[in-house]
């Protein structure tokens, strides 16, 4: 009984800040301003403007996730091969930026990329033509990769560091070369970490509106920005909730994919 009581504060928290808001979103998403049931809000994802924002979001998060994976896997491999002692210090250095405010870090990029920002300052000092860096899809991808890379590295590093050296030795002993070992041993054994990393990058990248606000200006609208604007500027909570529901479906699909591959929960443990 007393043990159940200990869970009480969290249950209250969960009810107040997770269950009830979720219920409200579902309620708003499926009703119109008169409180009548409608699927118009959800269906509005099909309008060209919304569809464009959704596809752009999917596309940019996909590209960012791919870049993160391409950067993270070799890095995680290096960290693992360095061994625990030195490795853990490098891991510490690596997660250090995560302790600084996410907004501040993104604003720092804004300062760097701006028209009269640091990078263009350097370019003009070198008498090179200025580049329009900010407010491009590239800037948003850069922001996403920069902010979410650690979430890709850590689960992969976690899984890789659990692979015994002797497994690799055994594969080599049985005649496999480095490429065969990578494809037949390293990659299959690190699938849980890769899946976990992909989700942890893809989901926040898909829903972000801060990165696209700061680095994409008002020119590039992601689905996150559209939802945010429905709530804050248009004041249309019904529309915002409806679109959130659509986004949630995409997230649930990716969670289902993890559940399928990450049976032991190995990758998510960090």
């Amino acid at each position: 009984m007393s043990k159940k009581l200990l869970a009480g504060p969290y249950l209250v928290w969960m009810a107040g800040f997770i269950i009830i808001p979720l219920g409200l979103i579902i309620y708003y998403g499926l009703t119109d301003r008169d409180g009548l049931f409608t699927i118009a809000n959800v269906a509005s994802i099909a309008t060209p403007e919304h569809r464009k924002a959704l596809w752009l979001s999917l596309w940019l998060s996909l590209v960012s996730t791919a870049i993160c994976l391409a950067l993270a896997y070799p890095l995680a491999m290096i960290l693992r091969n360095r061994g625990v002692g030195r490795g853990s210090f490098i891991v510490f250095i690596f997660i250090l930026p995560m302790w600084m405010n996410f907004l501040l870090r993104t604003m720092a990029w804004q300062t760097l990329l701006e028209k009269n920002g640091v990078l263009n300052g350097i370019l003009s000092f070198l008498h090179l033509p200025n580049q329009s860096l900010i407010n491009t899809a590239g800037a948003i991808i850069l922001g996403m990769v920069y902010n979410f890379l650690p979430f890709m590295v850590l689960p992969i590093y976690n899984v890789l560091s659990k692979i015994d050296d002797d497994i690799i030795h055994a594969a080599r002993d049985l005649g496999a070369n480095s490429m065969q070992i990578l494809v037949q041993i390293w990659l299959p054994l690190s699938v849980p970490g890769i899946i976990s990393g992909i989700t942890m990058v893809f989901v926040p990248a898909l829903t972000t509106f801060v990165i696209s606000n700061l680095l994409g200006g008002s020119k590039i609208l992601l689905i996150g920005n559209v939802i945010e604007q429905e709530f804050t500027r248009a004041g249309n909570w019904h529309m915002g909730s409806g679109l959130s529901l659509v986004l949630m479906i995409f997230i649930l699909i990716s969670m289902a994919v993890i559940a399928k591959y990450d049976k032991n929960g190995e990758g998510s443990a960090f």
Binding site: D164, I167, A171, D173, P188, L189, V191
Partner: protein, 358 residues
């Protein structure tokens, strides 16, 4: 014997300035069961890893069948390793694990199928093809690891303490299995262990190592009955190691009493170390003993009694006997001449480490 299959020449290896192997020379004949035996840190595993190719020697050569393979990576060597912690591929089933090496070599599907069936039969695990690794016990996993290695038909199988993680009963069963496998397959086994009983049971040749040097190499009987120095005597089974003086050939003086022995060539009146195994001491009537002492300790061990007999000079003799001698009783100690093993005293600690193998 013609040329050895594996020949280690002047192998030297250090890790972070700690010398692990110092100018090691070792020859392994084809189709023998060779055991590298020694305490942890003696360099036995490093030796095995150098043969396997997982470590590179700082100096020296690894000769395999007349060819220098020192620079060859493990995947190019005609030998396979069985690892201490099995190192099975957990993302594959049993059949896929065994097939791994054969698939890499591009063998045909039917050949691989036949080999899998043959190997599973050999390790007594028929029908386990589609099982997952995690559903197997430690002993079964180790047998799969052996099957995975031998399907590649290596000339040499390297085994790194493969039974270390198993419980006693299973370990004994596996020892007999390994002997059977070696006889059936006719391949050379190089086996690393710190367990002297395992070494005595399975080996054709035992190589006793300590501090990076080979202390003694020989058959299990030679190693046990004629240890060349105190380290070997002490490491292989229990023993009484006492200082003595070689009066002349075939006569040694221990604590003032003279024992007949069979050793020759130690000179006259020379200090030596004498090894007497606890089971070789006969407890007799005080009047019939070469030395007399008092039984000070008695433990029942099952097969025999373990006793301590203290002689007037204060030395406690360890005695194993099926005859009981109650504590406090005075007894005589008698040892047959051929049960006494004489060893040169090491001149220094360094020489003790190097051993007497020139």
């Amino acid at each position: 014997m013609n040329q050895p299959l594996i020949d280690l020449r002047n192998i030297t290896k250090s890790f972070d300035k700690t010398v692990v192997l110092d100018d090691l020379n070792l020859s392994v004949a084809e189709n023998t069961f060779v055991t590298l035996l020694g305490p942890s840190g003696c360099g036995k595993t490093t030796t095995l890893r150098i043969i396997g190719g997982f470590e590179t020697a700082d100096q020296g050569q690894v000769i395999f069948d007349g060819e220098d393979i020192s620079k060859l990576p493990p995947n190019k060597r005609q030998l396979n390793t069985v690892f201490q912690k099995y190192a099975l591929f957990t993302h594959m089933n049993i059949a896929e694990n065994i097939a791994f090496g054969l698939k890499i070599k591009g063998k045909s599907r039917t050949y691989i199928q036949d080999k899998i069936r043959y190997a599973l039969k050999l390790v007594n695990l028929d029908g386990y093809e589609n099982r997952s690794v995690s559903s197997l016990s430690g002993g079964q996993q180790q047998r799969i690891a052996i099957a995975r290695a031998i399907v590649n038909e290596p000339r040499v199988l390297l085994l790194d303490e493969p039974l270390g993680a198993l419980d006693l009963k299973l370990r004994q069963d596996m020892q007999y299995e390994l002997i059977r496998l070696k006889n059936e397959l006719g391949i050379t086994f190089i086996y690393v262990t710190h367990d002297q009983e395992e070494a005595l049971t399975m080996s054709d040749t035992i190589v006793v190592m300590n501090q990076g040097y080979i202390q003694q190499m020989g058959t299990p009987e030679q190693i046990y009955n004629e240890p060349e120095n105190a380290f070997v005597a002490d490491f292989i089974g229990e023993s009484n190691i006492v200082p003595g003086i070689m009066i002349r050939d075939e006569l040694v003086e221990i604590f003032g009493a003279r024992f007949a022995c069979v050793d020759k060539g130690f000179g006259t009146n020379r200090p030596v170390d004498v090894v007497i195994r606890p089971e070789d001491i006969d407890l007799v009537e005080p009047s019939a003993g070469t030395l007399t002492g008092v039984c000070t300790h008695l433990i029942f061990k099952g097969v025999h009694y373990e006793m301590e007999v203290t002689t007037p000079d204060g030395f406690e003799w360890l005695v194993h006997s099926t005859d009981l001698c109650p504590v406090g009783k005075e007894v005589g100690i008698h040892v047959d001449p051929f049960d006494i093993q004489i060893m040169n005293k090491p001149a220094s600690e360094d020489e003790e480490a190097v051993g007497v193998n020139e």
